[in-house]
């Protein structure tokens, strides 16, 4: 299991920020060639990001590059240049099933040419259109490289012609749909960023809401958001204690030769054991155990 609670966007045209990205503690860093970079700087940002991946140490953060949409002149050029330096994954904006297949194809060819192992470079489709959302299941299915989906609520609500609000009721359906489709394939469901940096309470509520629906991580647009995201996604003390007791009860039952057992008067079955196992694994990775 790889923790992917936070994915931090870093502008691909800002050397100072790229240089320090690895010390900020995000699980993933998204070096952005798309929205953060003006059209006139697309080529230089691409070179900067390529060289940064080649030379800098990002410590424990995995490196994902958001390329430009494949429908633009820059998308395929981005892939050709960036794949050569072996980032962990590419983030594909406004992703469609066809886009993911096309990316898979070109990556396969690059990997063969560069003699990288097959399927080394992973994909994250960015779901930010109604068309993409309704087809999210097939988008994930389109390639074995897909490790997670990122929901982009700003573009999605724009596409839907609706208003984005602090409470986020308007993206409830999208969150549920993405979370469920991701779970079906056991890939990560990364929630849309919260953009008001001054609204700390709203931010915490927003993460909690996403977590309760089944999103497994959240994108961040500022390093200051990382700790809060990690705190909310960390298993609580109570969850950890309960999980420990489940595992202990299971061991005791095994020793006593019991097939079925109960804890606090309630039957413990496979899903409960699995959840306890996942919580303990997450707690370990989060440094809580």
């Amino acid at each position: 299991m790889k923790l992917r609670r936070s994915m931090l966007f870093i502008p691909g045209n800002n050397p100072g920020m790229i240089q320090n990205a690895g010390v900020l503690g995000a699980d993933s860093i998204i070096l952005d060639l798309e929205d953060a970079v003006a059209v006139t700087e697309k080529d230089s940002a691409r070179i900067l990001v390529r060289n940064a991946i080649k030379t800098l140490d990002f410590y424990n953060s995995e490196i994902v590059v958001r390329i430009n949409p494949l429908s633009t002149d820059f998308g395929f050029e981005d892939i050709k240049e960036i794949a050569k330096v072996k980032p962990h994954a590419l983030l594909i904006p406004k992703a469609t099933e066809e886009d993911i297949k096309a990316c898979d194809d070109i990556l396969k060819r690059i990997e063969e040419y560069e003699r990288f192992e097959n399927n080394h470079i992973k994909l994250f489709p960015l779901i930010e259109t109604a068309y993409g959302l309704e087809n999210v299941y097939n988008i994930i299915k389109a390639s074995d490289r897909v490790e997670g989906v990122l929901l982009g609520a700003e573009d999605l609500t724009a596409d839907l012609g609706i208003k984005r609000t602090r409470e986020g009721e308007e993206i409830f359906y999208a969150r549920c749909k993405v979370a469920s489709a991701c779970r079906a394939f056991r890939v990560d469901a990364i929630d849309t960023p919260f953009t008001d940096l001054n609204d700390y309470d709203g931010f915490v509520e927003d993460i909690k809401k996403a977590k309760s629906i089944g999103m497994t991580g959240k994108a961040a647009i500022n390093p200051r958001q990382i700790d809060t995201i990690h705190d909310v996604f960390a298993p609580s003390k109570e969850e950890i204690e309960y999980a420990k007791r489940v595992m202990k009860a299971q061991e005791d039952a095994k020793r006593e030769g019991k097939g079925v057992f109960s804890l606090d008067g309630k039957m413990v079955d496979a899903p409960i054991i699995q959840r306890a196992d996942t919580i303990l694994e997450k707690a370990k990775l989060s440094g809580l155990l």
């Binding site: 240089q19 320090n20 010390v23 900020l24 503690g25 800098l56 140490d57 500022n222 390093p223 200051r224 440094g287």
Partner: protein, 512 residues
Amino acid sequence: MINAALREIPEYIKGYGKVKPFEGAFKNINKAQKANVSLNCKSSNDDKVVSSIEEVLKKCGIRDGMTLSFHHHLRNGDYVLNMVMEEVARLGIKDIKVAASSIFPIHEPLVELIKSGVVTGIYTNYMSGPVAQAVSLGYLKYPAIMHTHGGRARAIESGDLHIDIAFIASPACDTYGNINGVEGRAACGSLGYAIPDAMYADRVVAITDNLLPYPLCPIEISQEYVDYIVAVEEIGDPKGIVSGTTKITKDPVGLKIAKLASSLIEESGLLKDGFSFQTGAGGTTLAVAAYVKEIMKRKNIKGSFAAGGITGYIVEMLEEGLFTSLFDVQCFDLKAVQSYRDNKNHQGMSASMYGNPHNKGAVVNMLDVMILGATEVDTDFNVNVTTGSDGFIMGGSGGHSDTAAGAKLSIVTTQLIKGRLPIVADRVTTVTTPGETIDAIVTERGIAINPKRKDLIEKLKGSKLPIMSIEELKNLAVKITGIPQRYENNGKIVGVVEYRDGTVIDVIRQVQ
């Protein structure tokens, strides 16, 4: 000769005299002697209020070669130094030594006076801006002498720095020379740095824009030290005196460093009831205070005191009961000024009480933790806060060396790379604070503990903090930046860096 900080220094420096080499931070603190003070006593018939600066200069017997002192509580809003020196120049006086506790960009007019020989010497604890540049370029006749805050008090009290006339910028002053810093439009709070000057100078002149009837209350510097009072229109620009508010950094790298520093403090075992603490006013060091505050609240820790230059943030910690008292030598913002005036637990201290190594015990000796900055650090843990890597003077110790020597745990917080430069180097450009008094360097990429602190290293065994050797830290930086070509300089000596005990820890050479 080579001193104990391994710097090559001459035995004699022209315009400075025989050099006492730095022998180690704690080698020179056993015995001390204070200077005698000569004074002109007043009778009940004497009037202290004088109508102009010119007149007061004459009454004080101004002549070539004198040393005039100033304090820096009005910071970059100070009008007094320029006002007095303009008058000195107008009177045709030459060869003046300016002993200003700090020099800021506002003191630019000094540059012309340096070039024309009105000013030939400078004693200061910190200088930035045009005067620092002019000194670096070799315009000053004699080398500038850079003190620490505590070292300046020591030099004055011992007679090493004899002041002929001290000018005290006074936000409030009564007609018999009682002064405080908490009233008036130029209110700046504590006047701690001016106290040794007032006590040891031959003549003491209060310059005020707020002359009040006798007696003033409260009194910070009393009538027994003050010879004359001159009322002027304005002693300073309030905007330059105190910043409205001092703010915690939003820079994510600064916050990361602050978080690591606070974790180090927590794991050092010093953060418990009775904890004492000092930080500067910089955004990152303030962020350390913010994180420390969080820990203190979470663990219900009641600290003892915070000291130094005081910010609104530290005042909030006092008000929330996290400290029982503050020691304030200088207020950094308006909230601190207000608290210093209104809260009896917010106490003033003189520069001597703050950091003088040659008194019967300075406040720095009681500090648990000090958070310091750095321009450069070397692999011996020596810290430079005096010159940039280009050799220009851009600061000075201030209280850096004093607190580093006194505190149980002195932590330097700095980015590992600034601009394109690695901050940890083999050798700093100038040694301000000796490595033996620095316990830890905290950067965004790792923490180095001084190998001399075996107890601390032992304590941190098993810690999750990114602890590494200083060489590893340096290599991390160099891997990104490469090794910059050193700026080698063998020019004439333009500055002498005195350690707090009066020995010479390094010299500053003319920028070519």
